[in-house]
Symmetry: C2
Subunit: 405 residues, 2 copies
């Protein structure tokens, strides 16, 4: 069971969490709980670090911010004990070996012997998320949202049957309910679909945690920490009644996009690499590369997208290499957005992509770029048209709640 920061914000809420844990434990299950810091606490600690030193040592940052989950782990353990539930906390540095860089480490291994012993003795193990011990023997944190990854890694470590992520939403929806009020909660979704939805802006779970669960084939559930509802199961493959589900799982909307177009680039092998490699080296994510040559002109236009926050940096990298690349013009646009349909059905049914383009064309939504993967089709459009696009696609693919009724 993993509980997020909103459900750990204050003793009353921690008591509510403890009640849920107790019910689970009293059902005869062996229970391991991973907790986030109280809502707002990590931000407060990060802010202290910024004030202390704008450019701070990530190892010291880890020491400061890891404290938030330590506090909630101790508090939850003692609350459980007060309810008569056998429980104890373990620290990240006792159990979770991390690798990679401080401030953004990855779980390398879980020392499960101590945990196995506690669990089989009927003790609920409470563990601070988001942290472990690095190869240098010092505290390491996993990057923001890393508690989901801690939970999945620990679940894998103790060979858990399931990992339940309790959060402030009650499951995974067919799209953002702020855009489509009659969006529907999904009973089940595949890991791949979940990854694609997260990757295009539906951030219910940390992407890394879903990838890990998929690799280890560990079923997840996304549940409300506040209401007793079934939530959404995240599984390797849909089966049984879930197969009756729509071929499209959901529509994702992502405003965090900016478009870059280089005009008049030489139409020769290696041009795309010449532009993209320096971006990759600078750590800038890029997406939706479209390279369109004007026939017989010898030159071409190259368009790609980057996260909005990286646009200025991307422009600097490219302008530095103007002579090398040899382009005529550099055009950017940060009033763009990406709309995507996501579903395992896309793999076997190319008509779904065609239907998407047709629906958008009917509403005169102009496609600035298109990209497809096995289970996703994305279109780059003007940001002003994003909400319209999401709504019409949601309806067209039969996802509206009233369709199910």
């Amino acid at each position: 069971m993993k509980f997020g920061g909103t459900s750990m914000a204050g003793i009353e809420r921690i008591r509510h969490v403890a009640e849920r844990v107790r019910r689970e434990a009293e059902d005869g299950d062996e229970v391991l709980v991973v907790v986030s810091a109280m809502a707002g606490e990590t931000d407060r600690l990060v802010q202290l670090c910024r004030e202390a030193a704008p450019l701070h040592d990530p190892s010291e940052y880890d020491v400061v911010v890891a404290s938030g989950e330590q506090v909630t782990a101790g508090l939850l353990a003692m609350t459980l004990q007060a309810m008569g539930v056998k429980a104890r906390s373990f620290m990240g540095w006792q159990l979770v070996r991390a690798s990679g860089v401080h401030g953004n480490a990855r779980v390398e291994a879980v020392e499960s012997a101590m945990l196995d012993e506690a669990l089989s003795a009927g003790t609920v193990a409470v563990i601070p998320g988001f942290q472990g011990v690095a190869a240098d023997g010092r505290l390491a944190t996993l990057g923001r949202g890393g508690s989901d990854t801690s939970a999945v890694a620990l679940a894998v470590g103790v060979k858990a049957d399931r990992c339940d992520i309790y959060t402030d939403v009650d499951g995974v929806y067919t799209t953002d309910p702020r855009i489509v009020p009659h969006a529907r909660k999904l009973d089940a979704i595949t890991f791949e679909e979940m990854l694609e939805l997260a990757g295009v802006g539906a951030k219910v779970l940390q992407t890394r945690s879903v990838g890990l669960a998929m690799r280890e084939n560990l079923p997840l559930r996304v549940l409300s920490a506040f209401e007793d509802k079934p939530g959404t199961r995240v599984v390797a493959e849909l089966s049984g009644a879930d197969m009756e589900r729509n071929q499209i799982a959901g529509i994702a909307a992502d405003r965090n996009e900016a478009r870059v177009t280089l005009t008049g680039v030489p139409d020769k092998p290696g041009t795309v690499a010449q532009v993209i490699m320096p971006l990759a080296e600078a750590g800038i994510a890029f997406d939706m590369i479209v390279h369109a040559a004007t026939p017989d002109s010898g030159s071409s236009d190259l368009t790609f997208t980057v996260p909005r926050a990286s646009l200025a940096q991307a422009m600097a990298v490219i302008e530095q290499r103007k002579d090398e690349i040899g382009y005529d013009g550099l055009i950017t646009d940060d009033a763009v957005a990406k709309v995507s349909i996501v579903g395992v059905g896309i793999r076997s049914n190319p008509q779904l992509a065609a239907k998407m383009f047709e629906v958008l064309a009917e509403r005169k939504v102009n496609l600035l770029a298109v990209s497809t993967s096995e289970i996703k089709v994305s279109a780059l459009i003007a940001e002003a048209e994003l909400e319209l696009a999401v709504r019409v696609l949601h309806t067209a693919f039969g996802l509206d709640a009233r369709d199910a009724a």
Copy 2:
């Protein structure tokens, strides 16, 4: 260098602390810094534990409250780095082995190899006070005020030349300046005197830390964290100019006293033990035992003092054993206080005790009980007369600041 909670309260103050550490490091000294949590933070964490569970597991309490010093250690390390000082934090669980009970553990040993390496490489080591790792491999805290003890233990562990305790007072005074405004700051005081002063209510340093420094003969200094003043040296023996100091180091006042008198107890061997043993077994501290027999009557009165907070418990323990002990009456009084003169001079000069009684008699202060040790003479008096007693003794023993001028 050890810094208390007031000097770590907020980034501005931490920066000020870092400045002091930098100066010390730039003088060519190897520097190890022990820090407290931000003022108020430990209270906040303790309160969270109380709300979570009134009777909580001390192991979980340790997990929660140890986080406060972890935060300040990381923040100070990164602040030092930002000033160009080589620094890094170490955690208590990496260095300090603790024994005894959770929530009130003792420092057992310091793993100094890692520290020695850092220090000789010119790195300032920053360490959270008040904590270590227990024999069970879990976090352990040392009891409130334990950061002083951490500092002394770590100083002993790395064979430091000196341990400087930076606090919100600028040294050790001849008495409580709230009672005597012209109390004088002492240049030097012996460990023994410091222990006696702490034991009777002058709490500048945690008693345990002074005892440890005395045993290991590690010189201490008590200094202001906010002003550049020399402070007070705490040493094994006074020497040189310090020997010119007054024979009496200071006057201590302690209001935390209650008096218990049993009348008509049998005047026979073993009576005192019969009363005192059950108190000791119940964990009640007792002090100033006076056993006065009425000649030829066969019975006697037994008077002793206990901390005020333990008075009700002490009465219960004694009333339970009324038949066994065989006393007539049980009289208690919690409007009493203890005034003491403390100084290494007392050992060689019995006239000092006589002078104390004479001065108090002149002002008609009634002595309810008297106790003496090698370097201390204490009198139990009515609480209403405490301030008067402190003032007249302070003047009589030549301790007033104007006497020095």
